[in-house]
Symmetry: C2
Subunit: 651 residues, 2 copies
């Protein structure tokens, strides 16, 4: 079966480039704020053919030239579509040049394009070409991302301020078509909230039409559309990536179910070419956000391809001269996420393909470490961790923890591939020891942000990251949990982004009682105020339009944000208790913790099946459709046979 | 005066990309065979404004967003055209995103774009933006290379084989427009020779028109056009870079004058965005060819910008993973040429701008040297030197000579810029000593190609390169000249490309008597057979259409090839005897050698004027319009005053 092929990475680089150039704000294009790589303009594809070649048909995106080599003897076919290759052995090369999108090739007939072909940029080493099952016919072009479309209906239309306000009932991401009452100039405003759509000054996504009686727009985020022509006919089509909802959750509490469903919808809206941060703004790929999306994806879609595309797009291309998204910690999350991707899917092929870039990325990180092994922000490095007050003087504790974990991940990748890591594992261990030595404060019983400032400031952030990513003894864990997490005098986390990590710590520490409460209160609070997708951030005290404001502007808050979808992960991971223990889920554990739900029924996807965990208040029943599972409950470990339900009494 | 600005290199990268994608052969596109870099898709321009900003007007190629920073406080203006900047001090940044061509920016009003702005790719260091005097108004777009156009007329039209053959009298490079007798399918063939235009099978440049009554084509090389419609109306416009013919030459011999004029025209046709090899095929930028063009340019146009553009385009962008044009020696010529460019124009600014890439290039070369310091072809390296039999076993002598010279040039560049060369000069000296030790053969009295094969093969090539680029004592020079150049048993040079270097050796050795003879016979021979531009190669024994054949195809020889234009250099340099001795021609020498011409009148350009050398058989008169010259003649050294002619008796 022939497929379109391309040089590894170019498909993601191209769609990442399109994606990053689609953002608009207040009617103006809003170009990227970090380097977005462009595809190669010319790629050479090659395939050794041991025997007779037969006849091939060639399609390419771009100009192409076919050359057949027999030793040093070459036969040139230019851009002919149908070619009789003649006797082998031979080497078939097709050079494709494309300045508009990216070079890709489709050959069928007696020889077919697939990953047995190599690709190179006429400078670097040839490497196996990449492909995707979606693009398996000449007319299925990899230039067009294969989104699906479904009509969405306006549920309410009002005449307002000389125009019409359309309400589509819930947040969507849809392409739109307008037919106006007549030729003229028109203003259109796409609002996540009614207030936003009605704000001529602050509506973020808006379009102007000049002297036309109709207009079409590529997909945008909105629930409301205001059009200044009350007679305008408006149609909208939801644009989405068809993904299977493989995870599921139902319990006895409506609000928890609704949060789960809303999280799933929110997450789906943000799961497109790659994992996005939010669909209105920025609609970009942020490594820290994407890392959290990996957690959710594994309990909802378990879509390997989407993770793979995101990791490739974030890695970019050489030269690697700036941190991913400009943020030091985001580069570390990328490396950690790459190794966890391998652990999840057992996909060593991606590690092998991406390794040259992974090495460049780690070389870059290592080159920026100081003589004492710590990373401190160099020029143009954003030492982010979170929007929160931390003592950022000199080396920041949380950053070192992530650096060490990234080094560890890189060392594991190298070991797996048989590549020389130049002592990454040893460097990781030395760095981890140095963190314990320099940042641990015995008197505080926790890590301080900075050992250089003398302020001994304890933040939740550094301690959360240490809890999750730094190997340490249980005494320290218990101590920092008490002194940095449970202690209310330590400033609270204010972003859902970092709240997720804090929740992980609670759950890992066995204190997951707050899980349902936070779902009911924080996320439930959004829904009670009318949210149809989960917000970037929410303060239950803000109940008016001020809840849409962020970054100093009235409507810049994203009302559909991926990092708020983690209830899906937390419920699947800690209530149903499903956890991968072996690479690629060859083994997994089901260790439910019942929390304060009376009943629940949770399905968690596995690569080769699923595991369903039901608790009806009296019995816990677990059914896995793939082998390798162990039920851990009530002090017992029971092997799970594929297809055989195991049922135990709850108390 | 405002100018369009861009990130340094991007203008050249963009036009180089267009150029390399324009080649066609036998009706098919013919994509590049080496890596051709693509422009950045997004560039950030910035300017510090110390005082009040006033009002600016902004034009950009691509989407743009203006942001003004006052400390960490930012004001966003999106893509507004006219902006009141308000009070300073401030930092104005404009991010421009452009996937079609390359990001560039034009600002006028109270703040104007020029090279005081910086540009960066959102990852690397900001560096001074680049600009060009051509693009000094909003409507003068750097996306369009500003060629000039002039109509060229068909001088003869014949009805032939059901169509019309048009002869434009001489080789040209012209865009064409066709108006056919009616709507239909048409075939057009552009021939450098009549035979080529009439060959349906082997005409290299051809076009097919389907179902149209008119057609237009971008500029192509041709003298003849065959169109299959005898009634077709054809118009053509010569496309050229307006360049001043600052050098001139006239003598008493018509054939020498005609060769000079034809060389000038040939060279002009190949002097466009960059120095091309030939205008029909390949129309690409080859570093070895371009290096020779530098010599000719300095005695004809002395166009600094064209040299600068060529050096930038050849350097490409990081990562540097393959030799320039895939050829080891071509990378070395680039480095040598870069330093000679500096010596010629005193332009340290280009050295400074291009240094990061020059360092990458030299790092790449050094990384591929073996433990003994010699370079041997690694995978995908083409050790070219010339199309000629050489003993290429192991390290090739000529290649080491060029490597050492490139290291020396790089060392000089580093010294000039105060950059650490990591011992390049020392490495060059050690390598030169090793070449003398390993390749010099006392018995042969010359360098052997390989010391590893045991064959002791003496080629002209290695000895010519050693003579020109390797420091050695006079005894060795005299010996190798006698044993490798004057000895007819050493295989002859067969390409005009290397013939130029051999001629340089003759001239440097004081044996320039053959200069006029080679002009009369070799180049004159082409003209006598009807050439209107100088061929890539010429064998006086081939007088029929076989003289158009090359590379195994009847018309693949380029009939208009830059490397054949060196008579311009040789006459100016050795007859008129003009030679730069100080950086930027602060000093220069005029040391005429009269050869066997009875009279000549030669003008050689200087950056700030020209020097005219006239010899009428009795007196030699020299007039320089710029200071710094010394006349060296008849054993005397006479200072030249700007504007004062010095005249001496010839014998």
């Amino acid at each position: 079966m022939a497929r379109w092929i391309w040089k590894f990475g170019e498909f993601e680089i191209y769609h990442n480039l399109l994606l990053h150039n689609r953002r608009t704000q207040y009617g103006w294009p809003s170009p990227p704020v970090w380097k977005v790589c462009a595809p190669e303009s010319c790629v050479r594809f090659a395939r050794e053919v041991p025997g007779p070649g037969g006849t091939i048909r060639v399609w390419a995106k771009g100009d192409f030239a076919v050359t057949v080599w027999r030793g040093y003897e070459k036969t040139e076919y230019g851009g002919q579509h149908e070619i009789a290759l003649g006797d082998g052995p031979m080497r078939v090369t097709v050079t494709v040049s494309n300045r508009e999108s990216f070079p890709c090739l489709y050959v069928d007939g007696d020889l077919q394009t697939d990953e047995s072909w190599t690709a190179d940029d006429l400078a670097g080493d040839p490497a196996p070409a990449d492909s995707c099952a979606w693009f398996d016919a000449p007319e299925k072009s990899p230039e067009v991302f294969p989104f699906a479309y479904a009509p969405v209906e306006c549920v309410r239309r009002e005449r307002l301020e000389g125009g019409a306000l359309l309400d589509f009932g819930r947040e969507t991401f849809a392409r739109t078509a307008f037919r106006f009452s007549g030729k003229g100039d028109h203003v259109l405003r796409f609002g996540e909230s009614r207030e936003e759509a009605m704000s001529p000054e602050w509506c973020v996504i808006r379009r102007t039409v000049r002297g036309a009686d109709r207009a079409k727009f590529e997909a945008q985020a909105f629930r409301y559309i205001f059009v200044d022509d009350p007679g305008a006919k408006v149609t909208a089509e939801y644009e989405y990536l068809p993904l299977s909802y493989r995870g599921a959750f139902r319990c006895d509490e409506d609000i928890v179910n609704r949060v789960w469903d809303t999280a799933a919808y929110t997450f789906h809206l943000n799961s497109r070419e790659f994992f996005l941060d939010g669909i209105k703004r920025d609609r970009w790929v942020w490594s820290g956000d994407a890392y959290q999306s990996l957690f959710v994806n594994r309990y909802l879609f378990l879509d390997r391809e989407l993770e793979r595309r995101t990791l490739i797009a974030l890695a970019g291309k050489p030269p690697f001269e700036a941190h991913i998204n400009g943020i030091v910690d985001y580069t570390f999350y990328w490396m950690i996420g790459l190794y966890e991707y391998y652990e999840t899917y057992g996909d060593a092929d991606l590690l092998r393909r991406i390794f040259p870039q992974a090495r460049r990325i780690m070389d870059f990180c290592r080159s920026r470490a100081d003589a004492d092994g710590f990373v401190r922000g160099k020029q143009r490095d954003w030492v982010f961790i979170d929007w929160a007050p931390m003592d950022r003087a000199g080396a920041l504790c949380g950053e070192q923890v992530l650096f060490a974990r990234a080094l560890e991940a890189y060392g594991s990748i190298c070991a797996l591939l048989g590549e020389d890591s130049r002592g990454a594992a040893e460097q990781a261990r030395a760095l981890q020891a140095a963190v314990l030595e320099r940042f641990w404060d015995d008197e505080k019983g926790a890590f301080v942000d900075s050992y250089e400032s003398g302020k001994r400031f304890v933040s939740r952030h550094s301690n959360i990251l240490a809890y999750l990513f730094l190997p340490m003894d249980d005494a320290r864990k218990t101590s920092l949990y008490a002194h940095a997490i449970l202690d209310d005098s330590v400033p609270q986390i204010t972003t859902p982004y970092f709240k997720f990590y804090e929740n992980l710590v609670h759950c890992e520490a066995g204190s997951d009682a707050g899980l349902e409460r936070s779902i009911r209160e924080y996320f439930g609070g959004m829904l009670r105020l009318g949210a149809t997708t989960l917000y970037e951030q929410f303060d239950p005290n803000e109940t008016g339009p001020e809840r849409y404001a962020m970054y100093g502007h009235p409507f810049e808050k994203s009302l559909c944000h991926a990092w708020s979808c983690n209830p899906i992960y937390l419920l699947g991971r800690y209530r149903a208790g499903v956890r991968r223990t072996g690479v690629g889920y060859q083994t997994f554990e089901v260790a439910p913790r019942l929390g304060d739900l009376k009943r629940f029924d949770c399905t968690v996807p596995l690569p080769a099946g699923e595991v369903r965990v039901r608790m009806d208040g009296e019995r816990l029943s677990v059914l896995a459709t793939a082998p390798g599972g162990t039920l851990v409950f009530g002090g017992q470990r029971l092997p799970l046979q594929a297809g055989q339900e195991v049922s135990v009494a709850v108390r």
